[in-house]
């Protein structure tokens, strides 16, 4: 419905009061509650169907000897499949390898490496995407001829082309960045195309009446109009570039990065499942941080210019 936006914004003061949702604080409390619920389900499943455990020792002079035998046995709740939350947290402080630095330090270094690849991939992909978006927005024929291929490109399972890129490019991290860029350029192309087309046609006519060149219309009108769309696509692209970097690292054989950590800890899963879980948590955090940075950049850029998109 194209009319929707018109009507909603034309609403008087009446609806403004209704529209305000729960406060920031209420949301934060709910978020904490949600996390607590997740932990509760996690540990609850282990309590009901996990491995037996016992508490043995003394606290303040009182002897404690407690053994818990779960009433059920679930395959996905064993310590191997679903380690205790505290053992995952604890493993961060333990050495990753004998006599080595602690896992938190190792993973932080690897996350930084992957972030570097993702950032380069993001830069390449965003530039390419923006360029393609501008190109397609100038020519309907180009759009009709190439956009289906841009869409189709995303159905290529990148892990499949990753080995080819890795063999082709001798510099390992650059190959990984290229794979990240492959996932990044798509949302930016589509976002840029939509955004550049979003300029008010009346404003375009106004620019024409000033005898503006197509380039002026692009710079003074279409690109500014596209910024909200661009930032929305950058957010998707940021998380896609992290995914791309991790996937790219898998076949690259580079001994750094979260991808190599995942492969490494997957190999030794039996002896330390919580290390793989810890790596996944760090990977998730990396995705969140990158998207958070894009958000911060957006709110810095958009201050006072347009109403930032909250989501």
């Amino acid at each position: 419905m194209t009319r929707t936006a018109t009507v909603q914004l034309a609403a008087g003061p009446v609806r403004r009061s209704v529209a305000s949702g729960p406060s920031r604080r209420a949301k934060a409390i709910a978020l904490v509650g949600l996390l607590a619920a997740l932990l509760l389900v996690w540990e609850g499943a282990k309590w009901l169907g996990g491995d037996p455990w016992r508490l043995h020792g003394s606290l303040l002079g009182i002897q404690i000897d407690y053994e818990h035998v779960p009433p059920l046995q679930w395959r996905i709740a064993t310590d191997l499949a679903l380690p205790h939350v505290w053992s995952i947290i604890g493993t961060f402080a333990e050495p990753a390898q004998r006599n080595g630095p602690i896992l938190a330090q190792v993973l932080f270094g690897n996350a930084l490496f992957t972030f570097g690849e993702a950032l380069v991939g993001f830069a390449i992909g965003a530039t390419l995407g923006l360029g393609l978006g501008i190109f397609f927005s100038q020519s309907r024929t180009a759009e009709r001829a190439f956009v289906p291929y841009v869409v189709a490109s995303q159905t290529v399972p990148i892990v499949a082309i990753a080995p080819l890129v890795v063999i082709f490019l001798p510099v390992g991290w650059l190959a990984v960045a290229i794979i990240a860029a492959y996932l990044t350029f798509f949302p930016v192309t589509m976002g840029a195309l939509r955004g550049l087309r979003s300029a008010d046609p009346r404003a375009v006519e106004l620019m024409r009446s000033f005898a503006s060149s197509p380039r002026q219309i692009l710079w003074k009108l279409r690109l500014p109009a596209a910024t909200p769309y661009l930032f929305a696509s950058f957010r998707i692209a940021a998380s896609a570039s992290v995914v791309g970097a991790i996937i790219g690292e898998l076949p690259s054989g580079i001994p750094y990065g979260l991808g190599s950590s995942i492969l490494n800890f997957k190999q030794y899963y039996i002896s330390g499942p919580e290390k793989l879980w810890a790596t996944i948590i760090v990977a998730a955090m990396l995705g969140l941080v990158f998207v958070g940075l894009v958000r911060a950049a957006e709110s810095w850029w958009s201050r006072g210019r347009y109403r930032g998109n909250g989501t």
Binding site: Q8, L34, V156, P157, A160, P163, I167, I262
Partner: protein, 265 residues
């Protein structure tokens, strides 16, 4: 717009696509043939086509296996997402807290979870990949469905209120039809995610016949023509799922499809 005119517009849309295809494939064939570039990395189209023919039985077998994973995961994930969205959209508090969480979850590399599900269900079981695919498609579908259910024209809500319509009536006659375009947009994204999720999930282990396993296996043996043939199969799977969604858009939301065309998209 009459059907015939629509058909003509569609075939007009297809001509540039076909031209690009023919030009690129021909150039690829000729340039590689003339330069004699290392054939094994990027084989000529004719070589890939030959691999497609000789490996056909294996490829179809792999495609079937991977398709079951992708479609099964897509089905599970989307049903869950729709149910959760319908259940939470009613309560402002629930959706205003869940949607940001879902958006955040969507920015995490869920695929990193694949070794874990392999451990849960065994790497031979398609349930491992189905779980990954289900989690991957869950978030975009849920977020978009909640948006579609809630981003309803305020005047339309007032209109329903003036008719003293019940919540159920508003849901069925206004919110759900309003959400359909949003849901289908999410499905477009979800179909490609599903195929990628299944194939990449297989990278961490799976039965021999799986497409992802086949691709990595052939690539390590430097049989790139075979690998490319399998990649083409995976692409075809992704594209046909995508086309199914486009077809669903044409039939389920014709008002939106033609509106979009009027917008020039």
């Amino acid at each position: 717009m009459t059907l015939r005119r629509q058909a003509r517009a569609r075939s007009r849309d297809l001509i540039p696509v076909a031209v690009v295809f023919v030009v690129v494939v021909t150039l690829w064939e000729v340039v590689l043939g003339v330069l004699g570039v290392k054939q094994f990395l990027l084989p000529r189209p004719s070589v890939i086509l030959a691999a497609l023919v000789t490996e056909w039985a294996t490829l179809v077998e792999g495609l079937r296996y991977t398709a079951v994973e992708a479609i099964g995961g897509l089905a599970i994930g989307s049903v869950l997402a729709l149910v959760v969205a319908l259940a939470t959209a009613r309560w402002v508090f629930a959706r205003e807290t869940l949607v940001p969480v879902a958006i955040a979850a969507n920015s995490m590399p869920i695929i990193a979870f694949a070794p874990i599900t392999n451990n849960w269900f065994g790497s031979e079981s398609p349930a491992s990949r189905m779980t990954i695919v289900a989690v991957m498609v869950f978030f975009p579908i849920m977020v978009n469905t909640v948006r579609g259910l809630t981003m309803v024209d305020a005047s339309a809500i007032e209109l329903m209120r003036s008719y003293a319509a019940s919540d159920w009536q508003v849901l069925r006659r206004l919110r759900i039809p309003n959400a359909l375009p949003y849901v289908l947009t999410a499905f477009r994204v979800a179909t490609t995610l599903a195929v990628i999720g299944a194939v990449i999930g297989e990278y961490f282990g799976g039965p021999r016949q799986a497409l992802g396993i086949y691709i990595t296996g052939e690539a390590t043996l430097f049989r790139f023509a075979n690998a490319w043939a399998a990649i083409i199969m995976a692409c075809l799977l992704g594209m046909s799922l995508y086309l199914v969604v486009l077809l669903a858009e044409r039939t389920l939301i014709p008002w939106h499809a033609s509106g979009a065309r009027a917008d020039g998209r």
